[in-house]
Amino acid sequence: MADLENLSLTLSLVTILMSMILSVIAFINQQRSARTQSGHAVSGPLMLWNRAAIAMVVATVLLITLTIVSRAVQTKHGPFSNMYEFAISFAWGIVVAGFIFRWRYKTDSILNIGLFIALLLLIFARVKYAVPNPLVPALQQSTLLSIHVASAGVAYGTLTIGFGSAIMYLVQKRRNAPWLPELELLDNISYRAVVIGFPFLTLVILLGALWADIAWGRYWGWDPKETASLVTWLIYAAYLHARVMRGWRGIRSAWLLIIGFAAILLTFFGNYIFTGLHAY
């Protein structure tokens, strides 16, 4: 089973890289096609490149899922007990969220930013491979542990798509590129990503507090990772309030999302910077 886990993880690295390369080829062909036969529908070979890129994304989702399942079979619990396992879950969240947003909004560029971040996370996971170990007593709370960390995977994955959209927004604002989605759409995708990700982020904090209350007898202890996740939550709460109530759009809200994603990274890698109760 460990061999299957390693193989599927390695293959997912290949497929994610392939999907990015295929997307670039599809994009270059699209530009050429636009120059030579402007106004025509997407040609056959071009569609083939796009389909191949999407097929690779689907393969990536399946392979990361296989990695998670084979790991779970070995450890008898969800892939949520160390940085290696959580990095894979985070990458899974990004690719799935990116795929859903691509399907909903018919735009490849944001998915590609998501794929790039997921690729970095999978490389990080490959480097940080950890032999399956049984859970220490504090982590022996499978229900809460699973929902707490799974919610983090979904929240981080979705908010990463919001970040990708915010980056695209800033690029589009500066360059007005025809190959990028319109500003309105990018702003809308960012907002939708936060609307989905924020409740999950809230769930992460509330379930973490519930778990802390059961395990350690206090729901909040200003543990660095707790505080970092609160900081992340506050940034996204500020984004939602600023957008809904103050009508913040465009550049300012895009920058808030970039700061929010930096806070996610701080929370994720926080245990390498500061010590606390969280081992990952």
Partner: protein, 428 residues
């Protein structure tokens, strides 16, 4: 002067009713949290630097909620049905118009039915052959903001209740075979029957278990096993497995008194000459003596207090009367008492707490989630419709939708209009 005071109050009210202030306070709290995490001890979060912005945010939330009530109330009631003519000449993307082969009154009735089926509340008014409809959907979900804001206030209230009426003892140590009073007017005492620490093959911890008996005013009320993630809860007082360490069983024999066997926890560490030794103390009131027991070093082979031996300092009224090395199982005479170091045991460290605000925390959490779902996922839609007759015998229907930006207004209006068209077509 009076005017000046009222102006100041108005200025303050407007300041705290401002969403801009809320966003600024959120960002300040975020920055302070980051500062507290990286550069300050945990106590920073209990200082005025952190608490004052938190208090201001609470005030901001309360004033904002009061301030918005009139607008929310109008939304709940529905506002004006009949809109002026200029309202219908909008060229924005949130309006649509079509002509349908139907009398105005029947079209209004059919439109009303369609909207009701689509979950809208519909109100109507007529004026010189023109029918006006005002419809809205998910209006009560607008109250979600209040539910979320109420939950934030409840969080603070729960914290205050917990601080005022609860207690937290993070170092409640009980050695095996020992019974200790919990205190804090609980009337509870905890007896530790046994403590077990188990490890996996690679020596990573597997389980910590304390088998305990709980007494209230001397009466046994509960027997349980306390483990990490499995606290003992009795009438709101909760015992959490927290830490553990070495302890010893000591027998005291004094002239004309019964033998006394006591468990002594050694929770402290004495560092001396490179040795780290476990240390614990005991007061024997019947003898007017206090004892400081020092175990064999845990980090090296101890030449002064070898394994299976125990050093004991004996004190009488702040004066040390002697120091002895006890051998396991062998009685020794010291300060007129016979002391026997019987065996090595363990102590278990618990966190004991009572937090009357705890239930409120979970109510607040649930309210927050419900409020957030209501606000984010149940979009408040307002639709205004004007139906007027045309000289051709047809009727012209105008639709205008108000929805938050980001919501697909065109899609909603197209669907509604298509449903109206289908209904008209199905009625000859």
């Amino acid at each position: 002067m009076a005017k000046s005071i009222s102006e100041n109050i108005k200025w303050l009210w407007n300041l705290f009713a401002s969403m801009k202030l809320a966003v600024i306070l959120l960002l300040i709290i975020t920055s302070l949290s980051l500062f507290g995490t990286f550069f300050a001890p945990v106590a920073f979060f209990h200082t005025g630097w952190f608490l004052v912005p938190g208090f201001l945010l609470m005030l901001n939330i309360l004033v904002c909620s009061f301030n918005r009530w009139q607008r929310i109330k109008t939304l709940l009631q529905g506002g004006k049905v009949r809109q002026p003519e200029a309202f219908w000449s909008s060229t924005e993307g949130n309006s649509m118009m079509t002509d349908l082969p139907c009398m105005t009154a029947s079209l209004a009735a059919m439109t009303s039915d369609v909207l009701k089926k689509r979950g809208y509340r519909v109100r109507s008014e007529s004026c010189s052959e023109i029918v006006y409809l005002a419809a809205d959907k998910n209006r009560y979900f607008k109250l979600g903001t209040y539910v979320s804001h109420l939950s934030l206030v409840l969080f603070v209230l729960a914290f205050l209740i917990g601080s005022a009426f609860g207690f937290r003892d993070t170092g409640f140590i009980v050695a095996e075979q020992e019974t200790r009073f919990v205190g804090h007017d609980t009337g509870l005492s905890l007896n530790l029957l046994s403590f077990t620490d188990a490890y996996y093959e690679d020596q990573t911890p597997m389980d910590y278990r304390s088998e305990v008996v709980l007494y209230k005013n001397g009466q046994l009320v509960k027997q349980a096993v306390i483990r990490v993630n499995h606290p003992l809860n009795y009438e709101g007082t909760r015992f959490y497995q927290s830490f553990f360490g070495p302890a010893v069983r000591i027998k005291f024999r004094q002239a004309s008194q019964d033998d006394l066997t006591i468990s002594v926890a050694l929770p402290a560490v004495s560092a001396s000459q490179g040795y780290q030794r476990p240390v614990g103390s005991l007061v024997l009131e019947s003898a007017g003596l206090s004892f400081r027991f020092i175990g064999s070093a845990v980090n090296a082979t101890d030449k002064i207090v070898p394994k299976d031996q125990l050093a004991v300092e004996i004190w009488q009224k702040n004066t040390q009367t002697g120091i002895h090395i006890l051998e396991k199982g062998k009685p020794a005479k010291a300060s007129g008492i016979e002391i026997t170091y019987l065996e090595d045991i363990q102590f278990s460290g618990f966190q004991v707490s009572r937090d009357p605000g705890n239930t409120l925390i979970w109510i607040a959490s649930s309210l927050f989630v419900l409020g957030m779902i209501a606000v984010l996922f149940f979009v408040h839609l307002q639709l205004w419709i004007q139906i007027k007759p045309l000289p051709t015998g047809k009727s012209r229907i105008y639709l205008r939708l108000a929805a938050p930006r980001g919501f697909s207004q065109a899609e909603e209006m197209t669907r509604t209009l298509e449903a109206i068209k289908r209904t008209v077509e199905s009625h000859p």
